[in-house]
Amino acid sequence: MPAKELSPIQIYKLLPGTNCVECGETNCMAFAAKLVNREALLDECTPLLATEYTEAFAELWGLLKPAVKAVEVGTGENALTLGGEYVLYRHDFTYFNEPAIAIDVSDDMEDEEFETRVHVLNDFTYNYIGMDLTLDMLSIRSTSGDPVKFAEAVKKANDLTRKPLMLCSHDPKVMEKGLELVADKRPLIHGATKDNWSEMAELALKYGCPIVAYSPGDLDTLKSIALTLEEYGLEDIVLDPGTQPIEHMSTNLDIFTTLRWDSINEEEEGLGYPLLGAPMVAWGVAEEDPVLNEWNEAQLAGALITRFTDMIVVHGISGWSILPQIFLRSNLYTDPRKPVAVEAEVITIGSPTEDSPVLMTTNFALTYYTVANDIENAKVDSYLLVVDSEGMSVESAVAGRKMTADTVAEAIKEFKLEEKVKHRNIIIPGRSARLSGEIQEASGWSVSVGPLDSSGIAKYVEEKWNPYPE
């Protein structure tokens, strides 16, 4: 059942109804509401685990399980969940598990390059509104076709990283040489094709690892392979319909959209699994400059993140190409049900005195976090006035009259800035410069126009701040 159509009542009816509060909620109805929003786990209801509720449990799971199965790869703290999604469009509910980004290495790569790539995987991190954005997996391709070389590469990778691995060879003999070394780390096996499915299925069973069904360009065969793997008793399956170079962007969109649509809207058997995309296919095209390969890869990655993949494999490791990819997935996988705005108030940063600067920003969450982070990192002791702009950024709020001289003057009064500082001088964002005169008039405070971007605040305060201008 599509997640958005589920009501708490449907769930409540199947719960024990004893209001035992063991789940931490005040009653079963509250727990049902949490379950519907996927904010609680079914097995937090301990009475449900008892024998008499076996059927109810199964029925509840049937209602609550995601349309796209959640597949675990890796172990321990670096383990990842691929898939586990409920809807096609994020506004219908929310997306849950960000697409994993796997970095490509191969078994005929020079040691130095191999190691550099793994280090980028391990160490890449970018702080974005309080979150550390990182990379997730290592994809090891057997390009040599030599089992010994593949085993060496797998061993080397396993020594260098704790992040989950994907082993890529379609030769079962090559695969097993690598797999047997790291099976306990639950790597993803890539994969079962129309030719090797039986032997690969045996390997997945033997080593208890998740497996990719791979059928580039042929969705019917992809579904056949997935159904056959299911018949084998395998449950952790990932679908790779192949990714085509950027020239065939249309084919890629068709394929990934069809697969996700079929699993969500048609509840089609054999397709309710995470999808794997490979933007790195862009590197197989001869270009004048490798920069173009990496650029095309970033664009492909962007399109595939937007269109439903749960995991992508990339070859480019330059920050300029990785950064937009991880920003995009972070953006699209934030919960659209959560409010955009933070509370309007005065924030104290560091230990300001009565002569410290008063800065101003809006209550749009992204703007607020960026500005507050910048001021904190620059260690500027100050007050930050967060004006209610109905959750809009400075520029839009000014253009849309959501932040006006009057709302600023009111905020100055409401949050008692006159009691916090002795001076009467406020620094407003550069992007609200057009309000400076009006604010001065409405509030009686003198107004200084700050930098266009909050990264310039520290320098601005150092050079220009004067609480008592003449």
Binding site: T51, Y89, G208, E231, G242, T258, G284, R434
Partner: protein, 446 residues
Amino acid sequence: MAKERKVTLPISADLLEKLANFQEIELQDVIIDLEEIELSVSSSGGGGMNPVIMNRMAAEFALIRDSASRMSQVFGGGMPAMAPMAMPAQYAVAPVAPMAPIKAKPTSLIPAKTTIPPGDYVGEIVEVRLGATKSEGGTRSVSYTLGGQTAPAFYNFQAPPKNKPIIALDVFDWAKVPLSKAVKMHFREYLQDTGEWARVCVEKYGAEMINLHLLTIDPLIDDASPKSAVKIVEDVLQAVDVPISIGGCGDPQKDLAVFTAISEQIEGERLLINSVTLDMDIEKSAKLINDHDNVVVAFTSMDVNKARELNRKLYDHVDKSQIVMDTTTAALGYGLDYAFTVMERCRLAALKGDPELNHPMSSGTTNAWAAREAWMKMGPEFAPRELRGPIWETITGQTLLLTGVDYFMMMHPAAVNALKQTIDNLMKGKNPTETTNWVTVTVGGN
């Protein structure tokens, strides 16, 4: 009364790991004499337990239970049914089915067919013509039609878009407009000459339209007169032969005065007037658009209901085919998710039949440069920013292209080029004759 006894099988984590290497565990020469067994398999201790093995073990124990139960019928006494084993795992992971049947292994691939998702949309995006050629009463060498879609953006398997999205380059009439270095370097020589700037955008950078922004009219900048604005528009129309869009400064009164002068002086070009907002005099603005047969951008700020409201108000005075809607573009990393979702909601609602949202969409993709990551100096691992900026603009634009945007206002030549190429590729919609296998691909091509 029988005394309850509990026996714990001492299976160590170590042994469990070893067991994980096997598909089946056969117990031989074992006699189990019991009334109730509790099986608890810990997933701690490294590898985690293979669910396949757990299923099989569950099945084995089910057999034991059944025989024990039969015995108990003979000897009296009870054997409770086994409770399902709950796995301490993340919510979305299925609890193990209590008794998965052991099936025979398949010997051939199970044939299957994938459904082509049906596109049963009732709505259609209205078509809007921008610009006018000589035969259409204007002086442009080309005019464009936006809209006409009957399926979500590039669901080519349902219905490819009827008309291709258009890319316009932003041109400003104010030399001091704040631009990022990476952008400015391409236009530095033309900042003083708006017409020349526009010409370079078309001839050198492939702009399909010019998106002129009249900033000098801003009372806070030069407060230039409507008459001087008309002159600038005439210069641009002279310099290029593509359709143009006229943007105001954001001051509702001044913008209306300037739009009025331009509409009255320049007839027949089917200009795109950018924009009319809810706080403008909508009746006057809309009549102006209608009287002079131009097109309006209905601009709202990331709110589906406001977008509907503005369109509804415009309908009283202009034809639907004269409205393009803009629900605000935010940069990648700085609100793109909101921009994306509002546009996606608008387009899907329109296709489902909402009669107040079925307009072509416009995006101020240049806003991508509001993201500091697009222009800021960062560590060497993020260099060069000459690439980071334009890819930022490209991904911002491409993401919105996939919601259904029809008209892009952009700035960086590399981003314009990349997005144009992408649009062309998507419009062609041709499948490859030979599929590429990424797993064996040679980096750098053959």
